[in-house]
Each structure stands twice: as structure tokens, then as C-alpha cells.
């Protein structure tokens, strides 16, 4: 089966993981999942995905962010596209834009942050754009 790309979906909420996985797969993506930072690291080590969808708040409040930071600091993963999810926008705002901007690049947060519940149509449009090199 040809896929439009491979996505690593990281979230500690299995229900959400399952739902998003179905939706993404039906839209033509190959989806692997991970339930926490550790699993995600291993998954990335095994095979580099084309894109990562990552929940910020998992076991700890910043687990997803810490993971993103760790991955992006590796030269070979510096340009791995990571879309962050949060249901706690307020907190992300409180953390201050600078901290995220530093690793997520100039187009943070418009390009890389999605609030839950995710508007899947927009998410898929965004993923398509990114994978097409936008």
C-alpha cells in the first residue's frame, strides 16, 4: 500500500490515539503510535518518521515539549517536523513564546501548535502542506 507518509503519533491518551490514528490512516498516512516520551524516542530511533504529532502534556506537564527539545537538538533530527498538541493552551502561553520559539522556529505557534479537540480537517491540510515541503 502506498502511503502519503509516515507519522509518529505520541499521546498518553489511548482513546485519542486510536481515534486520530483511524482518521489519519483513512486519509492515507501510515501511522505508528507511542504512549510516552520513552516509547517515542525508541520509535524514532528505529525509524525516522516523516512527521511527528506530539502531545505536550503527558506524564509530566512538559514531557512532550522536553521530547521535542531533545529530538530537535540532534543534528540529524533538526528538521523533523513536529506538530504539538495541547488541551491546555493557557499553560503553553504562560510558558512564554520565547522558550518554544527557540526550537520550533519562527513560525511558532501558528504552524506547529494545535489545540485539542483537534480540527482534523485543518490538521490534515497542515500535514499535507508540510510533507509537500511547505
Amino acid at each position: 500500500m502506498t502511503t502519503k507518509g509516515e507519522i509518529l503519533l505520541v499521546d498518553d491518551d489511548q482513546d485519542l490515539r486510536d481515534s486520530l490514528q483511524i482518521i489519519l490512516e483513512k486519509n492515507g498516512y501510515f501511522v505508528r503510535t507511542a504512549a510516552n516520551g520513552q516509547e517515542a524516542l525508541e520509535a524514532v530511533k528505529n525509524k525516522r518518521p516523516d512527521l511527528m504529532i506530539l502531545d505536550i502534556m503527558m506524564t509530566t506537564d512538559t514531557e512532550g515539549f522536553d521530547l521535542a527539545y531533545e529530538l530537535k537538538s540532534k543534528p540529524e533530527l533538526k528538521d523533523l517536523p513536529i506538530i504539538l498538541l495541547t488541551s491546555f493552551l493557557e499553560k503553553v502561553r504562560q510558558e512564554g513564546p520565547d522558550k518554544f520559539q527557540h526550537i520550533m522556529g519562527e513560525s511558532w505557534p501558528a504552524k506547529w501548535l494545535f489545540e485539542k479537540p483537534v480540527d482534523t480537517k485543518k490538521l490534515i491540510a497542515k500535514i499535507e502542506g508540510i510533507l509537500a515541503g511547505g
Binding site: D15, L16, S19, I22, I23, S87, F88, P117, T120
Partner: protein
């Protein structure tokens, strides 16, 4: 805690003391001058004495006595001339003394002469020395008094001796040939001399003793005053500290103010505040004013500091010479600072000691029992302040914690909901296979409930956040343009989906505001998403930005949607409010509560206007940010100044002071007013407080005099023209109020306006006051501009309207500029009431609810180039005394800021209006007597400003107030749009008190001896604003206005008057021409009158 009012601010005592000293010196001057005045009577007394004595048969050397009288007259004249210097402000006590020496010296000389010519030692005049001795005792030091006493004795001895020895011829009194000549009786002479000496010295002794006693008293009084001053100073310090406690919530700032103030008032080098740690073992410095900076980091262990421990146990410690050992015990190494006196008192709150307050001075023995007492009181205040600040900080922490907690709760609520939404989507959108129609329907409904719950959580969060934002938060400058662009983009889809037209209007030059960007965006989002939600397919949503000129940006968000039911408008901004007509739209009822919260946070205002089925308009005012660099700050600065124009505190104080004025003071004020120079605020307050019928009559008399001398017997006539009674305001006293459904609403078309104007011109009017409610038909303000053009364009028979004054709602500077370009005469705008709480109560909604937008309008009109403005108060809404004083403040502000005050003041009284209870029974009714007083006082206070009386007053009231000061009246008025062509009917702004036609009014005025004037000469020659004032002030009104009034009245008589009025008018004209001051002008006027008879029109000087 009750806030201390500034009114209770204490007397400024040093100034008071200075004032008293000036008074004492002034009194000394007064007495010296009085001395001179008294002396004028001496020669007169001598002359009368001569006549009486002669008549009684006493003989003496008349020529010599007359000579002495002349001498007195001459030197008193010299003294009188010199006394001018004494009057001068710079004159010192020594100058007055020297002046007195000379006077007493001369008086002695003439006294000796008088005595010599009337019998020497036997002269009855020797008793007069008592005056000289007493006066010198009053004015001069005691030594001088004794010298003068001695001189009197010596002088008398000399006269007696010389006469006894016969060195000069004796001059004596004869009565029927007998004389009292003692020259031959040395024993008599000696006895009299001895007793005379005793007499003068006893007098000198007793008077100087009395004077010394008085001086001691004065000195004592001065000392007492100084003590009171010091006490007052301390009280002031306590007051300042109290204010700091009330206004500064942060401990550091508050302690900074308290310690510096204490150090100043107690005249000490340093003040320290040490606070006890929670475990009671340490003292930490919370403030160390005047001490080395490293003190702030110090900690004193209580265990090692017995003296501190004693203070902490409740004792005070005071010493005048602090020793090295004591420093050591206090744990403060300050011996190097040469501090000598210290005092420490415990800081006590509710029997708990929380720390120590200390004072340090370099002077030894500085602190007495009084100082300790005061210091303890101050410590009480400081302790409360510390508690206060700590409590405040604790609350802040709590708020912070609450916000944190709320966020957490929100997240925990949102996360499962979000997952639910995603799972629902998977089923609903068919990812798991086909669904039956019923299932699909249920899934959709489920989804809607989930979405609605998410929305509610979001909005609750926003509300909680905006409420917990600290008031002193730093706001950033915000530019509206990018926001507007973003909003447009964000809502594009929804707008397209509902096929709405979205109109965004944002001017090029829009000032920034200061605020929280996120909150402002939220505010717009809520308003626009509401507008979209509640507007049916194909409708219109608009957002317009206006650059404000009173320091506010105006934003209007409008739609033509379903509107809000009238009865529910009051609850619009409350949390969880949902209108009864929005059942099928998802919403939480929090959106508008959030908007209101955000607007409030930014110091703005929001109004809403809505009609069910017609749409809703939100109007928001947000304060403009101060620009950096200072130059363009004036907008905010201006608004701040605007807030200070009307100072209620001053008004109250002056009304109080005014009520203490006695009859004499009121009379002086009236006398000043007669000089046509106007009155200041305090003087007006005194007149307002005068209730004495006799003095009131004098006041009325003066007002009539001022009126007559500036305006002569002239009355300017105009007619109001109501073109529209559409209004979005809800003024509770007005029939045009938006809630009044009983009147017929209409805006006249240009054709209808033309018809009305033709009608007015046919009755003889030349001046129109255009009036419209604050809502214009679809053309907006252009409607007004077009109407003005229409009015000026009418020619009917020989007449036309020569001046259109305008009474419409406040505009921006730019709009005023456009209004000016339409060639209006006066722009008229009444504040209605200057009393802010009353204003807010009377104007609950609509743009007019903004008091300051209205108050600043006159200033904006000036800035827009309009230089004739009219102001006014609607009497009856609030206490008229307050209104008058506030109006005077407004006028003085305009004069100060723009160099010119208002051209006219209108004095409408509240009259019954359809649909208004307020109008039927005014909260502060003004009696006829008070109304006359208002007119009279205004006439005296601002003599060159015209006073306009409206149609509202009865003919009788008009007649009485014409004389007192009214200079313009309306006549033959209708206050309903279309009233001139169609007659009086529903739709009028208020009920009229005067129903007569113009001709009837004119006939009546002529009977009273007034010339009705239709003159518009000044306006058309550009003599407006300051130019007009220049013309008016030197009294030239009579030179120009009287002849112009005569000419325009002549035109009226020729063209419009009934035969009866014409006959009466001609008689008055003949008389009035004779009253023109200059003969040349008189002749010219006569010539022009003939020209008018021959058919020429519109002649003026």
C-alpha cells in the same frame, strides 16, 4: 476602610501665620493713616473754637490761632502725600515708626504754639497732651513715649519760664476784660507744672504698661500659633501616611512614604522599621530611611539584643545621649554617624507587637514626651499599614493560586472532552462504517453538546483570567489594523457560509490603545462571532473604527440580525445571560460578560443599542495610549485635564465660604460687577449664597444696569428648527428618548426642511437654530450638512435665513471642521448637568452616556475651527448653585485653553415632556425667584456672553428676565419636526410655555421698549470668537449692534409686521435712533432707514 476625603485637608498654617503678620502690619498702617485723617479735624476744630469763643465773648489773638490752624493744615497735607509710601506693600515697621516720630514732633510744636497763644501754662489745651502720649505709646517704643512726656514737661516749663521772665509778650484769653494770666503768680505756675509733669508721666507709664502687656499677649499668641503649626504639620504627616496606606498596596512603597514623611516632620536624620520574624527570634529591617543602605540586609538576633527585646515586650526606649553600649545592645553600629538622640517604640496591631519603629537624630536630647506620644501614634499607623500591605500581598498570592487551580481544572475537564470529540468524529464521519440516519442524527446532537461544553469551559477560563488580571498590570501599545485584518481572516469562512456582507472601516491614522493584546482580540472575537451568529443569512455585519479626539478610540460593531428584546437589555452583560430569542444558536451566555469585563479592565466604556428584528450595535470607547516622546501625548493628557475641569471639591468649598459672606462683602462684589469686568468663581459662589431680599434687589438692579449698558434695549430673535427626532440616547427627561414609543419618529426630507424654512422666512425670521436628535438617517452626518445647505439656499419673497446655528450631538474635531465649512453660526451644546452622578443617572444609554465626550465637545469644536459656541445647563436636574459654579469653571477652562469663552449661555428649565416622569417633576425644581437669580448672576459674572432664553419660559418670565440679562430669545417656536408647516402635535421635544406667533411676541417686546434684532452682521463680517469679544468688550456693541438692530427691525416692519405692530415699531425706531451715541452713526443710520423704505435690504455696519 473609609477613604479620607481631600476636603478634610488641614489648614496651611505657616501661610496663615504669614497672613496674620501682614494683617498686624496692615493695622499699624491703618492707624497711622487714621492719625492723619483725624488731624484734618484739628484746624476745623480750631476754626469752630474761634467762632464759638468769639461769640461767647472770649477775646484772644485770632490771627495767631488761624495761623497755627493753617500750619497744621499744611504739614498734614505733606504727611498725607508722604503717607502714600506707607501704603506701599514694601513698607516696613521702621518706616512707619519714623513717620510717626515726625508726626508727633510736628504736633508737639503746634501744640506749644497753641498753648502759648491761649494763655501759656493756664491754657486749657495742656490736657490735649494726653493724646500725644497715648499715640506715641501705641506706635513707638516705651522709651520714646517717656521722651515725649519729658519734652512736654520741659516745653511747658520753658513757655512758663520765658513768659514769667517777660522775654516774650504774654498772649492770653480775655473774658469780659478779665484774663487768666498766671504770669505774675510763680507759685501757681510751679504747682501746675508739677502736676502737669505727674499727669503726663503717669499717662505714659500706664499706657506703655498696657501696650507692653498687649505685646506680650501678641507674642504669646504667635508662639501658640507656631505650636499649632507644628502640631498641624504632624497631623498632616499622619494624614499623608494614612493616604499612603490607603493608596499604596505594596509594603515597600508604603514604608518609603511613611518613613520619609516621619523623618521630615520630626526633623530627624533617620527612621527605621524592623519587623519581627514569624518565630519571634529575629528582627529584620523593612525600611531604613536615612541609614546606610546595607542596613536593609541586616538581621538582629533578639536573644543578643536586650534593649530590642524590651521594646518588643512593649516598652518604649528614649534617650537623649545614646552610648556606645546602647548601640551595641541594639545591634546597630551607628556611633560613627554622630547620632545622639534615639527613640524606639513597638509596632502594635490588635495587642500584638509586630516590630519596632525607630527615630535617630544628631541633636542631643531631641525627644520630649510630646515627640514620644506622636511617635507612638505614628507607629500605630505604620503597624496597620504593614498588616494591610501584608494582607494585600497574601490576597495576591491567593488570586495567583486560584488562577493556577482554575487552569488545572480546565485542563482536566477539557482533555477528556477533547478525546470524546475526536472519538465522536471517528464514528460520525464514517471511519468505522455506515451509520443509520437516526444514529447519525444522535451523533450530531451529541457532538453539539460536547462542542457547547468545550466552549463554555473556554469562556469560563477567559472570564476567570480577565477578572484575575491585576489592576496595575503593564499594558502594551496595541495597533488595531493587524487585529482587524486577522479578525477578517479568521471569520472569513463563517461569513462566507452565511453569505453575509462584512464591512470593515478603519481610518489611515488610527491611534494605538494601551492594553492586553490577547484580551482585546478576545473582545473582538466575541463581538464579531456574536454578530455573525445572530444575523440571518444574507445579512450585514460591520466594524468601524473612529479616531477619538477626547483620548478615546471609538469602535462600532453592528449587525442587522435578530436584535435583543428591549426588556432584556439591562441584563445583557451579566454572566450566563442568553436572550430569549436565541434558543437555537449554540452559546454560553459568557461572551458579552467577557467583553464587558475586558472593556472595564481597559478603562473604556461600552454601550449597546438594539431593536428586536432590526439588529444590534455595540459602541466601545477605549482610551488612547500615550505616545512615547511626549509630543503627541496630548490626547490622553487632554482627557485627564478634562476630568479636572469640573472640580466638585472646589465648588463645595466655595459654596461654604460663600455662605459666610456678609452683606458688606456681597455689596462689594456687586460693585465690582458693575465695572463690567465679570466675577470670579468665589464671588459667584457668594452671590449664589445670598438670600437677603434687600441685597438681592441690589443684585438685580446691578444686573439690569450691566445688561442695559452692554446690550442696550436690544433683543435678538431666532427660531429653532427641529429637523429630526430620531435619537439613540435615552435621556430620562426628554421626549425624544429612544424608549419613548409614544411619539411619531421622523427625519424631515430636504424638501420638507425647505418648506419649513420658507414658512419661517415668511413670518420674518432671519436666524435659525437647527436641532436634531442624536441619530441621523442613513446618510449620517451628511444629513445635517445637507440640511444646512438647504436652509441657506432658500429665498422667499424679500427674505432669507442669514444665520444657521446648530444644536446637535458632539462630534469629533474632523467632523466639527466639516460642520464649520457649512458656514454655521454658533455651535450649541448643553452639558445638561455638570454633576457627574446625576448625569450618569439621567443618561443611562446611548453615546450621550459618556459625560466626558460631551464635556470635551466644546473644546473639540474650537479645535475644528468653530469659534462661536454656546453652552448651557438644563436647570432642574441638579442643584442650580452647583451647576452655575461648574459652568463658570467650564467657561474659565475654555478661556484658558482656547483664549475665548462661549458666545452664549442657554438657560433652559426642565419642562414637562411626553413620556418622561423626570420632566414632569424635576428632581431639583428651580423656582421663578431662583431662576431670576440665575440670570442676574450670569449677567454679572460673564457680562459679555449672551444669555438665551428658550421658548420654554412663559411670556411673564421672559419679560422679567429680559431686563435682568437675557439677550436672545426664540419666538414662535415649534419643537416637533415639521411643526411650522403642519402645526404643533405629537413628536415635540417638550411642551411649550409660550404659544404666541412671532408678530405677537414682537408687538409685546416693542411695548416693553425693546428693539427686536435679526442682525447677523458680526457673523457675516467674520467678527466671531475673539474678534467678537474685542468688539464687545470696550462697549462698542452700542456702536454697531444698536444701529444694526434698528435696520433689521425696520426690514421686519416693512416686510412682515401686522399694521398694529408696525405702528408701535415705527414709534420705537424713531426713539431708538436718537439713542445712537455718535452723531455720524446716527445720520448714517437714518440714511439707511430711508434706503430700506425704498426697497433695499440687508444693510448693516
Amino acid at each position: 476602610m473609609t477613604q479620607l476625603n481631600k476636603e478634610t485637608s488641614l489648614l496651611d498654617l505657616p501661610a496663615e501665620l504669614q497672613k496674620r503678620r501682614r494683617i498686624i502690619l496692615g493695622e499699624l498702617k491703618e492707624r497711622t493713616l487714621w492719625f492723619i485723617k483725624l488731624r484734618w479735624w484739628v484746624p476745623i476744630g480750631i476754626a469752630i473754637g474761634i467762632i464759638v469763643a468769639r461769640w461767647a465773648g472770649v477775646e484772644f489773638n485770632t490771627t495767631a490761632l488761624l495761623g497755627v490752624a493753617c500750619f497744621i493744615l499744611i504739614y498734614n497735607l505733606v504727611f498725607y502725600l508722604l503717607s502714600r509710601r506707607i501704603r506701599a506693600e514694601t513698607c516696613r515697621k521702621e518706616d512707619i515708626e519714623r513717620f510717626t516720630y515726625w508726626q508727633v514732633g510736628f504736633d508737639y510744636g503746634t501744640m506749644f504754639l497753641l498753648i502759648h497763644f491761649t494763655g501759656g501754662i493756664a491754657s486749657p489745651f495742656i490736657f490735649f497732651f494726653i493724646f500725644h502720649i497715648t499715640f506715641s505709646a501705641i506706635f513707638l517704643p516705651p522709651r520714646s513715649t517717656y521722651s515725649f512726656a519729658a519734652m512736654a514737661v520741659l516745653g511747658m516749663g520753658l513757655i512758663a519760664g520765658v513768659r514769667y521772665l517777660g522775654w516774650i509778650p504774654s498772649q492770653t484769653l480775655f473774658f469780659h476784660g478779665k484774663s487768666i494770666d498766671l504770669s505774675g503768680q510763680p507759685f501757681h505756675i510751679l504747682v501746675i507744672l508739677i502736676f502737669f509733669a505727674g499727669f503726663v508721666f503717669i499717662t505714659a507709664l500706664s499706657t506703655t504698661a498696657v501696650m507692653r502687656m498687649l505685646e506680650r499677649r501678641i507674642l504669646h499668641l504667635a508662639e501658640l500659633t507656631e505650636a499649632v503649626t507644628a502640631l498641624n504639620d504632624r497631623l498632616n504627616a499622619l494624614y499623608t501616611m494614612t493616604q499612603a496606606i490607603l493608596s499604596k498596596q505594596h509594603l515597600d512603597q508604603m514604608l518609603q512614604v511613611a518613613t520619609s514623611e516621619l523623618s521630615r516632620v520630626m526633623e530627624v536624620q533617620a527612621i527605621s522599621v524592623k519587623l519581627l520574624s514569624d518565630d519571634g527570634k529575629f528582627l529584620r529591617y523593612a525600611a531604613a530611611y536615612g541609614l546606610p543602605p546595607d542596613f536593609m540586609n541586616r538581621v538582629v538576633e533578639l536573644e543578643r539584643s536586650p534593649l530590642n527585646r524590651r521594646v518588643i515586650e512593649g516598652e518604649s526606649f528614649v534617650t537623649g545621649r545614646v552610648t556606645q553600649g546602647e548601640w551595641f545592645q541594639f545591634g546597630e553600629d551607628l556611633s560613627a554617624a554622630r547620632l545622639q538622640s534615639v527613640q524606639f517604640v513597638p509596632l502594635v496591631v490588635e495587642n500584638r507587637i509586630i516590630g519596632i519603629l525607630g527615630a535617630y537624630s544628631t541633636r542631643p536630647e531631641q525627644f520630649g514626651p510630646d515627640d514620644l506620644n506622636f511617635f507612638r501614634q505614628a507607629a500605630g499607623l505604620v503597624a496597620i499599614a504593614i498588616e494591610n500591605a501584608q494582607a494585600y500581598e497574601a490576597i495576591e498570592d491567593l488570586v495567583q493560586e486560584r488562577s493556577h487551580f482554575m487552569n488545572r481544572v480546565a485542563h482536566n475537564l477539557r482533555a477528556p472532552l477533547a478525546t470524546m470529540a475526536s472519538m465522536l468524529e471517528v464514528i460520525r464521519d464514517g471511519y468505522l462504517g455506515e451509520r443509520s440516519e437516526t444514529l447519525q442524527d444522535y451523533l450530531n446532537r451529541l457532538d453539539r453538546r460536547v462542542q457547547s461544553m468545550l466552549l463554555m469551559i473556554n469562556e469560563l477560563m477567559t472570564l476567570a483570567k480577565s477578572q484575575s488580571k491585576r489592576p496595575h498590570m503593564e499594558y502594551k501599545a496595541i495597533d488595531f489594523k493587524p487585529i482587524a485584518r486577522r479578525l477578517h481572516q479568521n471569520f472569513q469562512d463563517e461569513i462566507a457560509k452565511k453569505e453575509l456582507s462584512f464591512e470593515l472601516s478603519i481610518p489611515e491614522e488610527l491611534p494605538q490603545i494601551k492594553g492586553d493584546l490577547e484580551m482585546i482580540e478576545q473582545m473582538f472575537e466575541n463581538l464579531i462571532s456574536n454578530a455573525i451568529k445572530y444575523t440571518p443569512k444574507g445579512g450585514r455585519v460591520g466594524m468601524t473604527f473612529w479616531p477619538g479626539t477626547d483620548g478615546m478610540v471609538r469602535i462600532v460593531v453592528s449587525d442587522n440580525g435578530i436584535g435583543i428584546p428591549r426588556l432584556e437589555m439591562d441584563r445583557l452583560f451579566t454572566q450566563f445571560f442568553r436572550a430569549s430569542n436565541v434558543k437555537d444558536v449554540i452559546g454560553t451566555g459568557l461572551g458579552l460578560a467577557i467583553v464587558k469585563e475586558i472593556v472595564d479592565k481597559h478603562g473604556g466604556q461600552i454601550h449597546v443599542e438594539s431593536e428586536e428584528g432590526m439588529g444590534t450595535t455595540f459602541i466601545i470607547h477605549l482610551p488612547i495610549a500615550e505616545k512615547q516622546g511626549g509630543k503627541k501625548m496630548e490626547t490622553v493628557e487632554k482627557r485627564r485635564k478634562l476630568l479636572n475641569i469640573i472640580d466638585e471639591r472646589i465648588i463645595q468649598t466655595q459654596l461654604e465660604t460663600g455662605s459666610r459672606s456678609d452683606r458688606q462683602q456681597i455689596r462689594e462684589i456687586i460693585t465690582k460687577a458693575r465695572e463690567l469686568k465679570g466675577l470670579n468663581h468665589g464671588e459667584v459662589a457668594a452671590l449664589l449664597q445670598c438670600h437677603d431680599p434687600m441685597v438681592l434687589e441690589e443684585m438685580f438692579h446691578a444686573a439690569r444696569e450691566v445688561k442695559e449698558s452692554i446690550y442696550g434695549k436690544r433683543l435678538v430673535l431666532f427660531s429653532p428648527l427641529y429637523i429630526s427626532n430620531l435619537c439613540q440616547n435615552d435621556c430620562r427627561y426628554c421626549a425624544f428618548r429612544v424608549r419613548n414609543k409614544s411619539i411619531q419618529r421622523r427625519a424631515l426630507t430636504q424638501e420638507e426642511i425647505a418648506e419649513e424654512v420658507r414658512h419661517l422666512v415668511r413670518t420674518g425670521h432671519k436666524r435659525i437654530l437647527l436641532v436634531a436628535g442624536e441619530a441621523y438617517p442613513h446618510e449620517g452626518l451628511d444629513y445635517i450638512f445637507k440640511s444646512i445647505a438647504t436652509i441657506y439656499g432658500i429665498r422667499e419673497g424679500k427674505g432669507e435665513i442669514r444665520r444657521v446655528n446648530v444644536n446637535i450631538a458632539p462630534l469629533t474635531v474632523e467632523e466639527f471642521r466639516e460642520l464649520k465649512a457649512t458656514k454655521i453660526g454658533t455651535y450649541q451644546l448643553f452639558q445638561e448637568t455638570y454633576h457627574l452622578p446625576t448625569y450618569q443617572q439621567m443618561h443611562p444609554s446611548g453615546p450621550k452616556a459618556d459625560y466626558h465626550w460631551r464635556l470635551g465637545a466644546i473644546g473639540r469644536a474650537f479645535e475644528g475651527g468653530i469659534d462661536d459656541v454656546g453652552i448651557g445647563v438644563l436647570f432642574g436636574l441638579y442643584d442650580f448653585q452647583f451647576e452655575i459654579l461648574a459652568m463658570i469653571q467650564h467657561i474659565r477652562h475654555l478661556e484658558k485653553s482656547y483664549g475665548v469663552g462661549p458666545h452664549t449661555i442657554s438657560v433652559p428649565r426642565l419642562e414637562p415632556a411626553d413620556g418622561s416622569e423626570i420632566a414632569a417633576s424635576p428632581p431639583y425644581p428651580v423656582s421663578d425667584e431662583d431662576f431670576k437669580k440665575i440670570v442676574a448672576i450670569l449677567r454679572l459674572a460673564v457680562p459679555y456672553t449672551g444669555i438665551i432664553m428658550s421658548t420654554r419660559e412663559t411670556a411673564k418670565m421672559r419679560a422679567e428676565t429680559f431686563a435682568l440679562g437675557v439677550s436672545q430669545i426664540s419666538a414662535g417656536s415649534r419643537t416637533n419636526p415639521g411643526g411650522y408647516t403642519e402645526g404643533e402635535r405629537s413628536g415635540a421635544q417638550f411642551q411649550l410655555g409660550d404659544h404666541r406667533s412671532l408678530d405677537e411676541v414682537i408687538f409685546d417686546i416693542v411695548q416693553m421698549g425693546y428693539i427686536p434684532s435679526f442682525c447677523t452682521g458680526c457673523y457675516r463680517l467674520g467678527r466671531t470668537g475673539e474678534d467678537f469679544m474685542d468688539l464687545a468688550k470696550p462697549g462698542l456693541i452700542k456702536q454697531f449692534c444698536l444701529p444694526n438692530a434698528i435696520l433689521t427691525f425696520k426690514e421686519y416692519l416693512e416686510d412682515y409686521a401686522t399694521p398694529e405692530t408696525r405702528a408701535a415699531g415705527y414709534a420705537l425706531l424713531e426713539k431708538s435712533v436718537g439713542e445712537i451715541p455718535s452723531a455720524k452713526r446716527r445720520d448714517e443710520t437714518r440714511k439707511r432707514l430711508i434706503q430700506i423704505e425704498q426697497g433695499e435690504r440687508d444693510l448693516y455696519f
